[in-house]
């Protein structure tokens, strides 16, 4: 029993260790997100629950557990009606459904909470009761009993070669039988390829509520509950991708029907379920190695899902961009070309192709962190925050900025947009006015695409000054161009281009025209 329970305990969201009847969890706040890092806990009825609550965020938070079914948002928001009183209680509501709570934990602080888990199985919400936090800062503790097994589990085996699940009711079973231990499994007999199985059983929902069923198979699988398809993964594939469906069940027994077919090669089937009173539990003999992770409802990655699309005009996105310093300006050009300009170094930082950038990291929660390009074949043209213009003695390193350092002889002037909304960046360097713009031809995602950069210097250019086209190892192509390799390979071409250490440069002059393209056949 103990082993079985500890199997149930760990969810992907936490590290829980079961020692006798004690469950220990660490719950942290996520800085800048108004969320807990752990939103799902599972414990057994009557057990000892110990929680270390850590708050690395920059505002105070707490952690309160309530009885099942409590509208925690309403309870917490009700406090705002009488804030004077709530403040005196450190925002701990007086609601009788409150089960246990930490004190208010200041930024960078921690607290410990220990309580006895209720005897009643159920889902106990937890929440931060600081004003305004409850709506998003919450999770749930599942006090979980054992999951009921399948009842009257029968199988019907069919023979046939299929690429997708056949219409079993129109076929004649080859063999039928019962699985007395209530666990779905494949009775292979002599048939290793080209067969199908339909499993039918009753599932007993001990309480009414939401139930989640997870399945996978090698090959196609489909699960129906009470005659309605709930979740399916049809076709020929390995049993890697676990799919789940949620259904509201009334208390009592329900029809369970799992259809499966095997074409050739490996043959596996997996099913599992979770309900209001129990955690995800297998209904099959075989379980994939990742079943616990896979069978959980996947948490949405808050840092993806808002790609910025580029249509006829360039799109500008200024924010923290990985590889473009803390003053990055990304530009997505029509045709799948993208660059990031670094307004600290005044240099071209990145070139990439394909999709532009995903804004979700910065447009979700408080927007912390730096975002990498969304596309591919990213050239790190700027190197490690290298400057664009320098007078460099032979053999010495190309000048760069340390993190947070400002370039004293450069001054950022901003940019202008032309009628097509193409930006021209401007800056000053030692009294020389410099402009830098990019034009596109063809499609960046094909071999024909080309990015043309025009740099103009207005003023007295110091003798020996070099302009850096790209950082990285470079090889001449033999036809006047260079292949630069720094993150990806790019063909770079400009009159007078030459190597200076690990930089491809040209002598600085009043106008520099550079083309950047991905080498033919690179993809």
């Amino acid at each position: 029993m103990r082993t079985f329970l500890s199997l149930l305990l760990a969810s992907i969201f936490t590290i829980a260790t079961a020692t006798a009847e004690t469950f220990t969890f660490i719950i942290k706040t996520l800085p800048a997100q108004m969320r807990y890092d752990t939103t799902e806990l599972t414990v057994t009825p009557g057990s000892e629950v110990k929680i270390a609550f850590e708050n690395p965020d920059d505002m105070p938070h707490n952690l309160l557990f309530f009885q099942p079914g409590t509208d925690v948002v309403a309870v917490c928001n009700a406090q705002l009606e009488k804030p004077e009183e709530a403040l005196k209680r450190d925002w701990i509501p007086t609601d009788p459904r409150l089960l246990a709570h930490t004190p208010l934990v200041n930024p960078k602080g921690r607290a410990e909470l220990a309580f006895r888990a209720p005897d009643a199985a159920g889902v106990y919400p937890f929440v931060c009761s600081m004003p305004g936090h409850a709506a998003i800062m919450q999770g749930r503790m599942r006090v979980s009993g054992a999951a009921p097994k399948l009842q009257d589990l029968k199988f019907a085996m069919y023979l046939g070669a299929w690429k997708t699940l056949p219409d079993f009711p129109t076929l004649k079973p080859f063999r039928e039988g019962e699985l007395k231990d209530g666990l779905v499994e494949i009775k292979l007999d002599d048939y290793r390829n080209d067969f199908g199985v339909v499993y039918s059983a009753k599932v007993n929902a001990e309480t009414a509520g939401d139930y989640t069923f997870a399945i996978t198979g090698d090959d196609g699988v489909r699960l129906s509950i009470d005659g309605k398809k709930l979740v399916e993964h049809d076709g020929i594939h390995p049993a890697a991708d676990i799919r789940a469906g949620k259904v509201k069940l009334a208390a009592g027994t329900h029809d369970f029907r799992l259809e499966y077919f095997q074409a050739a090669g490996e043959a596996e089937i997996f099913a599992a379920w979770s309900g209001p009173t129990f955690a995800m539990t297998p209904l099959s003999k075989w379980t994939p190695p990742n079943w616990k992770e896979g069978a959980q409802a996947k948490r949405k990655d808050p840092n993806s899902g808002m790609p910025l699309t580029v249509e006829k005009e360039p799109v500008i996105y200024r924010n923290f961009i990985v590889g473009a310093g803390d003053r990055g300006i990304a530009v997505g050009y029509p045709g799948g070309f993208n660059i990031a300009w670094n307004a600290e170094t005044m240099a071209l930082a990145l070139v990439w192709r394909g999709a532009f950038i995903d804004a979700a990291r910065h447009w979700t929660d408080r927007g912390g962190g730096a975002q990498p390009p969304l596309g591919y074949d990213v050239l790190n043209a700027g190197g490690e925050s290298g400057l664009p213009l320098a007078v460099v003695a032979d053999g010495s390193e190309w000048p760069r900025l340390a993190k947070g350092e400002r370039a004293t002889d450069f001054k950022w002037r901003g940019y202008t947009l032309d009628h097509g909304r193409f930006p021209t960046f401007s800056y000053d360097w030692n009294g020389v006015k410099v402009s830098d713009r990019f034009d596109v031809a063809g499609n960046g995602t094909t071999d024909s695409g080309k990015l043309t950069r025009t740099v103009k210097l207005d003023g007295a250019v110091p003798a020996g000054a070099l302009f850096r086209l790209a950082a990285g190892a470079a090889q001449p192509t033999g036809d006047g161009a260079w292949i630069v390799e720094n993150g990806t390979k790019m063909r770079v071409s400009a009159d007078g281009a030459k190597l200076a250490g690990k930089s491809l440069v040209v002598p600085a002059r009043s106008e520099i025209v550079v083309t950047y393209s991905w080498p033919t056949g690179a993809r």
Partner: protein, 489 residues
């Protein structure tokens, strides 16, 4: 509206049918505008433009121009995307001279201009990028409108709102018209908005945290220290500011540390935690000459968390700004951040978002407007400190019997611990005696004699028993006066 229930429980004993039963919305009406499709209009800055238009800056880095929002009966608003892709727009200032919008984004003040008249900005000319950013999300930069000298002010949040990882985090800077950046005040923690009073004095709101027992309204006097020592190291790069001030003593009191640190300016008003709000944001001043109701020249301060606006009366005592804050209007739909007073039409535009920080409003973002309905609320109008008490004026004539009765009032005095730890409880309680309540000859003021007054304390005055001549109770029978200085005369 929960307001009327809560208020009537506290205030109304005898009659339940007076004006005080009316909700705030009877006096001030909030209009919620539709916002453009396809974006989250997380308004973080608002500015007025010529031709009855507005500019809205958003956390997503967009700047929209809007027409139709100023009309008495707004119908369909017209939105035009003026610029996009800016790194958060926390300040907008229109310059008529340049016909440009000056915007404060995370790392610069820039001048944006529509050169070809298509309604979209073509020039994004950097005016100053002199301050540091370290890549930390909390390093917000809030920008002002132009001050009386033509300068822009920028308040720079601390790194993570705790420390100062890079140049001038935790400072207020001025940006001169030629782009020169002048370090102007240290001691900023996590600013929420910059605004001016009727005399053009500059203020910002700061947020509860280390060295801030509650959110505060801060008077930005050049050369001063505003209270959080996190950015002291940048005095080395600010010779105009003189030597670095003495470090404040932990777990002290503001009134004590003022004696030790000559550069320290106390909060002009504590925006009392939980009672006024938890997350103060914009500051606007009513200079509409009555179009916005009876509170001419007072400040209106928003709170993102509480989705409300409070009202501040300020005065200068012994050379220090101080005054009282009163609840004013709640019920905004999201966490309001950006705001602008439209003095011509007598209305406040407000908008915001609750992203990353919860708000009572509950909606992810909003753009709204507040108008006076024309009905005068019975409210405390002004609250002046006196050597031995306060003089309270009212928006309506008071009933002499109740207003002249000391039993109609109660007062509690408290302060916050000035400490490195986050926030503070209310401490050092004093319950003074109200020894006299004398109604003035004008019938609209009361002189309260109070013993003792406590320098440095917040004086929380309840006026539950005061009635107007028509029998109504006060819409908001409470005010919180921050008594930095006790007047000598």
């Amino acid at each position: 509206m929960k307001f009327s229930t809560a208020l009537s429980a506290i205030v109304l004993c005898a009659s339940a049918l007076h004006a005080a039963d009316l909700p705030e919305s009877d006096y001030y009406k909030i209009t919620t505008f539709d916002t453009p499709e396809g974006t989250a209009l997380e308004v973080s800055a608002i500015e007025l433009l010529p031709g009855d238009r507005l500019a809205l800056g958003t956390r997503r880095g967009e700047i929209w121009t809007v027409s139709g929002a100023e009309a008495a009966e707004p119908s369909a608003l017209k939105y035009q995307l003026f610029a996009a892709g800016q790194h958060e727009v926390m300040g907008l200032a229109y310059s008529k001279k340049d016909d440009s919008i000056f915007t404060t984004n995370r790392y610069e003040v820039a001048r944006l201009k529509d050169d070809d008249g298509d309604g979209r900005a073509d020039t994004f000319a950097t005016v100053s990028d002199g301050w540091g950013v370290s890549g930390d999300y909390h390093e917000y930069a809030f920008g002002s409108r132009f001050d009386k000298d033509g300068d822009l002010w920028v308040t720079l949040c601390l790194t993570g709102s705790f420390s100062s990882a890079i140049d001038f985090r935790g400072w207020a800077m001025r940006i001169k018209p030629d782009g020169t950046m002048v370090p102007t005040c240290s001691g900023v923690r996590s600013p929420g908005g910059i605004g001016f009073d009727a005399d053009g004095e500059v203020y910002f709101t700061d947020n509860q945290g280390p060295w801030r027992g509650a959110c505060t309204l801060q008077h930005l006097i050049p050369g001063t220290f505003q209270g959080h020592p996190g950015g002291f190291k940048w005095y080395d790069k600010a010779p105009n500011m003189g030597p670095r001030p003495v470090e404040p003593t932990d777990k002290s009191r503001m009134v004590t540390e003022r004696e030790r640190i000559k550069e320290l300016v106390p909060p002009a008003v504590y925006l009392v935690h939980a009672k006024i709000g938890n997350s103060s944001s914009f500051i606007v001043c009513d200079q509409s000459a009555g179009k916005f109701g009876p509170f001419e020249k007072q400040l209106f301060i928003a709170d993102q968390s509480a989705s409300n606006i409070s009202r501040v009366f300020l005065e200068e005592v012994n050379g220090i700004k101080q005054g009282a804050v009163f609840p004013f209007l709640k019920g905004f739909k999201s966490g309001i951040i950006g705001g602008r007073m439209d003095d011509v039409h007598g209305q406040i535009f407000a908008g915001g978002s609750d992203r990353g920080w919860g708000s009572k409003g509950g909606k992810p973002f909003d753009f709204e407007r507040v108008n006076w309905t024309g009905k005068v609320p019975f409210e405390v109008h002004e609250m002046h400190a006196k050597p031995d008490g306060f003089e309270v004026t009212f928006t309506e004539p008071v009933d002499r019997a109740t207003a002249g009765n000391v039993a109609s009032y109660s007062m509690r005095e408290f302060t916050y611990i000035y400490r490195a730890e986050y926030g503070s409880p209310e401490v050092d309680d004093v319950i003074p005696k109200i020894t006299a309540a004398t109604v003035g000859a004008d019938g609209k003021s009361v002189r309260l004699t109070i013993s003792p007054l406590t320098k440095g304390h917040i004086h929380e005055l309840h006026l539950d028993g005061v009635r107007s001549t028509s029998g109504g109770a006060l819409v908001h029978p409470v005010g919180y006066y921050t008594l930095n200085e006790i007047p000598k005369t």
